[in-house]
């Protein structure tokens, strides 16, 4: 669900990798495609639906003031909002370690990362608002529980090594999910995703570096790193949503070029990436069934526990209540700041009438 619309997850098999290369190369390729597609001429169909279809067909972007089917609008609002909520709630597990980071350098890095996640939430809320919903409504739907955020953030960060595992695995899985969204048919979402993915690559690398450093350290540091990977591996696999066999209605999302790959296709891509990266760390992925399948050209692996995923989504994960309580309290305790800023703005606007807005 992190950049993955849960209600419409799943779909036809796929899984050729979009573009090879590093994360940044893939994002740049998406950016180039956005530009070259925009130069294509869209056939001159003047009916609303016809024009919408032609724009999608030409791989161009739908922009906020274009006509669009109501379902397209509603589905996108839900997906972008859930994505934004995930970025906002996602600050908590790592925020937990800012005051206890082992050095000033690590503390500065972690602060910068958590600040980026706040930024990602704000880019995405702004993208959702272009579809005709207000910020208050969006924030309200997170606070009253009507909309979900990614299940992964309901797991606790017990040790410093968890900060490494979150960066490597959770941001890593998020990137695999999000890179295809850089090509999403809705312009403001695609542009926000390009910006976000460029920032994500630092997140994944700093986590990987933390684990690498621990893996080179004392036996107990190495054990701590291994323990964190053991706990985060399966929840990270579950971030891609339920298996394709259990998911319905994603066809339309694919046809509208919002979603481009199935849950299982993306999950496989993530597993294939991690195996090699884990071996460089000298640490193990906690799956005895993990092995190369020459016929498929992919690693076979053990599926995450999807019943557990459903339980966490329903609110029964280890930290669901804590995350929501924290978010609500932060929102309430910030009310006086918002009110004071508004009062000050109103007073100044009254005093200097030529300053509009």
């Amino acid at each position: 669900m992190y950049g993955n619309d849960f209600a419409e997850a799943g779909g036809a098999g796929c899984c050729e990798s979009t573009a090879g290369g590093t994360l940044l190369e893939q994002v740049e390729a998406a950016e180039r495609e956005l530009r070259s597609a925009s130069e294509r001429r869209v056939s001159g169909d003047n009916r609303l639906q016809g024009y919408f279809d032609a724009v999608i067909e030409a791989d161009q972007k739908i922009e906020p003031r274009d006509w669009m089917p109501e379902e397209y609008r509603r589905g996108l609002i839900r997906q972008i909002a859930q994505h934004a909520h995930s970025e906002i709630i996602g600050m908590q597990p790592e925020g937990n370690w800012i005051s206890r980071a082992p050095s000033l350098k690590r503390k500065a890095i972690l602060l910068a990362k958590v600040q980026d996640e706040a930024g990602h939430g704000l880019y995405l809320y702004a993208a959702a608002e272009t579809l005709g919903i207000s910020r208050e409504e969006l924030v309200g739907m997170l606070l009253n529980g009507r909309q979900k955020y990614s299940s992964i953030f309901n797991y606790p960060t017990l040790t410093w090594a968890d900060v490494g595992a979150v960066g490597w695995l959770v941001d890593g899985a998020a990137i695999v999910n999000q890179v295809p969204l850089c090509r999403c048919s809705y312009g403001p979402y695609a542009r926000a995703m390009i910006r976000i993915c460029k920032e994500e690559s630092f997140h994944q690398r700093q986590g990987y570096e933390i684990l690498y450093t621990l893996a080179q350290g004392t036996d107990s540091q190495k054990a701590m790193a291994q323990d964190a990977i053991n706990r985060w591996w399966y929840p990270s696999l579950a971030m891609f949503g339920p298996p394709d066999s259990d998911s319905t209605h994603s066809e339309r999302s694919m046809a509208w070029k919002i979603k481009r790959f199935s849950n299982d296709g993306l999950r496989q891509r993530f597993v294939d990436m991690c195996v090699q990266q884990a071996s460089v760390l000298g640490l193990e992925l906690p799956d005895p069934e993990l092995r190369w399948n020459a016929e498929r050209g992919h690693y076979d692996y053990t599926e995450p526990d999807y019943d557990e995923l459903m339980q966490v989504i329903k609110g029964n994960g280890p930290c669901n209540r804590q995350r929501m309580e924290h978010r609500r309290r932060a929102h309430e305790e910030g009310a006086w700041v918002r009110e004071a800023a508004a009062a000050y703005a109103a007073k100044r606007a009254a005093r200097v009438p030529e300053v509009a807005a």
Partner: protein, 92 residues
């Protein structure tokens, strides 16, 4: 209590024009600028920022494609490629 929406424009480097990068909410222009700095230029993406109240923008049409731009379509003679340059004419 709704805070107004601001559109944010960044000049990436000297010599380049300001480009729209996104939007944000802020109670006034001063806070909009500060928020824009923290939100859109955390990695030295710009040397200059503009924030504009979204309500101050007048858009050409309710629709991104529009007959508003059609008059330019049949005036190919506005492009240099329309003209035949005789053989031997230099610097033109």
């Amino acid at each position: 209590m709704t805070q107004p929406l601001w559109e944010v424009f960044v000049r990436p480097r000297r010599g380049l024009a300001h480009t729209h990068v996104g939007s944000l909410h802020a109670p006034d222009a001063e806070l909009a600028l500060r928020n824009a700095r923290d939100l859109y230029t955390r990695r030295q993406e710009g040397v200059s920022l503009w924030v504009v109240p979204a309500t101050a923008i007048t858009a050409s049409s309710p629709d991104e494609k529009d007959s508003f731009f059609d008059p330019a379509a049949d005036k190919v003679y506005r492009h240099p490629t329309f003209y035949d340059v005789p053989e031997g004419a230099g610097h033109i």
